[in-house]
């Protein structure tokens, strides 16, 4: 396993070296693909000058706002819809009507109402994270072990206690799945909405650099996004391990049987 990982890294490194050499030799148009060393230099300049951290902070603020709001609204709604068949039926049609809307086409709609401000991006992220969070939570709440529920009832727990102490923990693996699926969606929508209607943020930075033919800047922005995507995923996993250690143990137990 270790050896194969090393192979992959070496191969990756080899590709990067070939890129650098080909670019140095002038075989590719530097206006389209500059040398790797140049991109890295621009990247480090932009990081130290504070330009990239600033844009990332702007984008992340929007992403976090939309993501957290979606979680706060759609986890409770999902639990309600999972527990009560009538609530589910009530909202089913609306959900089914809105779900096929491709999230980026909500950008012009949101621009109409909210202009180019932060609110527009936050709304678009909120909208696009809604479905994975809602549908996963709903599924989790609906499939809670009947024995668990009945046991809680026999012990005379109140409705709220059942939701808080039984259903929420039992549905949490699926809630986590929904939150995890939403993470890359959030990043994608932040970037799209900044490309379509914004004057700052990392998405705007990338598109603007391309339009001014500052190609190395553009690639530096993309590198930032790749790092950001990776880091967000790692953060999430760390968080998950801290919050739900019992679930990992439980999974292992099930796997080992």
């Amino acid at each position: 396993m270790r050896a194969s990982k090393l192979n992959g890294l070496l191969f990756f490194l080899g590709l990067l070296i070939v890129w650098e050499l080909v670019a140095q030799a002038g075989l590719i148009n530097p206006l389209i693909v500059p040398a790797l060393s140049r991109i890295l230099r621009v990247f480090s300049d932009l990081v130290w000058s504070g330009q990239i951290p600033l844009q990332v902070a702007v984008s992340m603020k929007r992403a976090a706002a939309g993501y957290v709001m979606a979680a706060l609204v759609f986890i409770p709604l999902g639990i309600l819809m999972g527990l009560s068949q009538s609530v589910y039926r009530l909202f089913e049609v609306i959900v089914e009507m809105l779900r096929p809307v491709p999230p980026p086409v909500m950008i012009p709609v949101a621009m109409l109402f909210l202009g180019l401000e932060d609110g527009m991006k936050i709304f678009v992220i909120f909208f696009s994270c809604a479905w994975p969070i809602l549908l996963n939570t709903l599924d989790g709440a609906r499939n809670v072990d009947r024995v668990l529920l009945n046991t809680a009832r026999i012990f005379g727990l109140s409705r709220w206690k059942i939701i808080w102490n039984v259903i929420l923990p039992a549905a949490s693996p699926q809630i986590v799945t929904g939150l995890k699926v939403s993470l890359p969606i959030t990043l994608i929508l932040v970037v799209i909405s900044e490309m379509v209607g914004s004057t700052d943020g990392i998405g705007y930075f990338i598109l603007d650099s391309q339009r001014r033919f500052r190609v190395a800047h553009m690639y530096a922005g993309m590198l930032t996004l790749a790092i950001l995507g990776y880091a967000l995923n790692q953060f999430f996993n760390l968080f998950y391990r801290l919050l739900m250690p019992w679930h990992i143990g439980w999974l292992r137990l099930k796997d080992g049987r």
Partner: protein
């Protein structure tokens, strides 16, 4: 669905109520009208735009870009996924490259594609291919790697050559995974086509919607949104139908296993 197939009165009533509220709220408030025209006006715009052929043209352009991008991505990803899943060596070589590229939001590739291909169909299709490849690729690799060795060994014992094993054993066994990837890619491809049309397009539904927003023709804009959503919905239904048809054998197999 464990829910009965009877008509969902409550759901449709709430939906109709919201539409009515929208219709009359918008009629009563002129300030709201420029943002949120009455439903009836949006539907009339939709009808007019379809009859005049304007919207149909954009729809066809978007659809053809979508199909080219999606089908190309699917074929590339399935072939590559089988190769990378089957040959351990190839997988270990490309693993780091994949792990590096995958977390980057695929829309970030649009500016690069514009530099390389200019603005036009080729750019939009290329971007769609890039983004839709990942889910199918990752799922196909997973499917092939989770394959039971006994299946391959049985194939070998029966004297199948490598190509036949790939075609008759590996591909069907990985099919459920591949289908999952294909379903995820379906919505991703539509997202990328519309996004690319918004950012660097002069035709297509994504362009149309943004263009109508900029010229403050809000009812035309909503008509475009309705049409794109209908397109997404229809594509999804077609996929589910196709899946049911193509994977019939699997349902039979699962049913037999459960006996």
């Amino acid at each position: 669905m464990n829910v009965g197939r009877d008509f969902n009165w409550a759901g449709w009533m709430l939906f109709a109520l919201l539409l009515l509220l929208w219709e009359f709220g918008s009629r009563l408030s002129p300030a709201l009208q420029s943002y949120l025209p009455p439903v009836s006006r949006i539907l009339r715009s939709l009808g007019e735009l379809i009859i005049s052929g304007q919207l149909v043209r954009h729809l066809m352009i978007t659809l053809s870009r979508f199909l080219q991008g999606y089908l190309l991505a699917a074929s590339i990803a399935v072939i590559l996924g089988i190769v990378l899943g089957y040959f351990r060596m190839a997988h270990s070589l490309f693993e780091a490259v994949i792990e590096f590229l995958r977390p980057m939001p695929s829309v970030a590739i649009i500016p690069v594609a514009v530099l390389l291909l200019g603005i036009g169909d080729a750019m939009i299709v290329a971007v769609t291919v890039y983004a839709s490849v990942w889910p199918v690729l990752i799922n196909t690799i997973d499917g092939v790697r989770h394959l039971e060795r006994t299946l391959i060994d049985t194939g070998r014992t029966f004297g199948l050559n490598r190509r036949k094993i790939l075609w008759l054993v590996v591909l069907p066994a990985a099919a459920p995974y591949i289908v999952t990837g294909l379903r995820i890619s379906l919505s991703i491809a539509l997202i990328l086509v519309t996004t690319a049309e918004m950012i660097a397009g002069s035709r297509g539904l994504g362009f149309f919607i943004l263009d109508q927003e900029r010229s403050m023709n809000s009812s035309n804009m909503y008509a475009g949104v309705v049409l794109v959503s209908a397109l997404g919905y229809v594509l999804n239904r077609l996929f589910v139908l196709g899946e049911g048809w193509a994977m019939q054998w699997r349902r039979g197999m699962l049913a037999r296993e459960s006996i």
